[in-house]
């Protein structure tokens, strides 16, 4: 059934929207907004991991670039929320464009660790040398213009706006994977050299894919900055890169529903388990072991079979 939903883009959009509506209204719109942001991040991460087969240990860098891009734009340019979101995406894209040409040539552990290294570097840069601009560890608090009902300090508006963003990302993701580009991505993941011998400049397309991934991560980061009304170094903290990896693995890489389930499941564990267990991370560790040994294809893999 899951496969049938995934194969129909309108149905996928409907199911994703319904899932967040039901979850949001049965718990709290305020909390679920976080879930939506994180799910966008998972989808961005999955463009690199699920679609290109490249696992990054440093995707918080691009998320952080989006947060700081939005924040700095609001403070130094103009406090328009949409301009801030755009700035966040541009920061994410620019970083992807600068680092991508080198990074996408790397495979496996080299790719994963180089991303981590750049994440570490970025973290240090905002923490110390750029502290006068970024506010260092304390970060900066933000406020944004509001126009009538378009008011980012109202969580109801945020919920709907962010959900619309998520649906836009889902739409794009499915558009890509069903286009000729999607066939190219699958082939490149299987045997990149062979794709070159069909006349494709694989390097260029891999950079493009990486930039799509970093731009979506930047979007998630920017939305989060608007959500929190501040940015600080926790939004670019490399140790948090594991969260998105975990969510992608948990949900199942390479498809929208897997990413959405992974994002929701991870956030649920984090939000609600943390109320009961002080060291909820240990539970995550155990769950990860279980996934690594038993559920190679994540929740999607299990549910799609049944």
């Amino acid at each position: 059934m899951l496969k049938r939903i995934e194969q129909s883009p309108p149905l996928t959009l409907l199911v994703v929207a319904a899932a967040f509506f039901v979850y949001g209204y049965s718990t709290s719109l305020f909390k679920i907004t976080d879930f939506i942001i994180f799910t966008i991040f998972v989808l961005g991460f999955d463009m690199a991991y699920g679609q290109m087969g490249k696992l990054s240990f440093g995707h918080m860098l691009y998320y952080g670039a989006g947060s700081y891009g939005a924040g700095l734009c609001a403070i130094h340019v103009y406090p328009d929320p949409f301009l801030a979101i755009l700035a966040g995406m541009i920061f994410g894209a620019a970083l992807g464009l600068i680092l991508g040409p080198v990074l996408v040539k790397l495979k496996g552990a080299a790719f994963a660790l180089s991303n981590l290294a750049f994440n570490q570097l970025g973290y240090f840069l905002v923490l110390v040398p750029f502290a006068p601009v970024t506010g260092g560890e304390d970060g900066i608090s933000l406020s944004f213009n509001s126009y009538g009902f378009i008011d980012f300090s109202d969580f109801n508006f945020r919920f709907y706006f962010y959900l619309a963003c998520l649906l836009g990302v889902v739409f794009l993701y499915q558009r890509f994977t069903r286009a000729p580009y999607g066939i190219f991505l699958r082939a490149t993941k299987e045997n990149e050299i062979r794709v070159r011998f069909l006349g494709y400049n694989t390097q260029v397309f891999k950079v493009v894919t990486f930039v799509i991934s970093t731009t979506l991560s930047g979007l998630a980061g920017a939305l989060n900055a608007l959500n929190l009304q501040f940015t600080n170094t926790s939004l670019i903290d490399p140790t948090r890169s594991v969260e998105v990896i975990f969510a992608a693995l948990m949900g199942g890489a390479g498809n929208v529903l897997g990413a959405v389930m992974g994002g929701m499941a991870f956030m649920t564990i984090r939000q609600y388990l943390a109320d009961y267990l002080v060291r909820w991370e240990m539970f995550l560790g155990i769950a990860l072991l279980f996934i690594a040994f038993k559920l190679r294809k994540g929740l999607y893999g299990v549910l799609a079979k049944g």
Binding site: R175, F176, R178, A179, P180, Y181, G182, I183, F184, R186, A187, E190, N191, I193, R194, V195, R196, F197, L198, G199, Y200, N201, T202
Partner: protein, 256 residues
Amino acid sequence: MSEHILATQGVSKAFDGLVATNNVTYGLFPGETAGIIGPNGAGKSTFFNLLTGYYPPDTGQVFYHGREITKLPAWDRVNLGLVRTFQLVSVFDTMTVLENMMLARMRQGGSYASKGRFFFGRARRKGLDDECFKALATMGLEGKAGTRTSDLSYGEKRELEIAIALSLNPQVLLLDEPFAGLSLVEIGNISEVIKKLKGKFTIAIVEHKISKLMDLVDRLSVINEGALVCSGEPREVICDPLVRECYWGKEDMVCY
């Protein structure tokens, strides 16, 4: 040299001190069908890899239509009409037969030229489908379009790979051991296809069994231990004492 469509000038390639291609100067004439033979490990595949840009030569140059392409990336060479197949069949097992063909065709027509359609358009559309079915039909594979490629027999995969190569509009087609691992019937089929293609464009075939090439090629060259030993009319070449020496006792040599 300028009458060659594809040529090398003293190319060499070594792997950790092992010289796989040794100072080879070779050329293909437009429209000819040339054979390259040599015993196992002679360096035939390495030579093809140098021609097609799989890796660059350590020394020497490669020319295409008289223009130097030694440093040109593989994809650019393909787009100039330099197309190859691999010794170990190389198609995409996780995709369907049709998708394999689409991958080759979708950047040929308008869909690649317009980037928007490449990223956002639908992969399945009438024009491209028709093109792909036609291309599959060249090897009689149109009935298998929906099959997952991993479910094809080895021979069918080989046919698919050749169909894909042909769909790339080659000017020069390089076939690395197209008969390896196939049954006699399949070998016969592929020989027939190659015979029909003869003259339409330039073809080079690598093979280590001489007998399969004898009635297929206009010219035969022999590579041994990385070096070009001799080149000429097939029947003369196989009677050359030097050739007999490197094949002696190893192969199905018959002097006609």
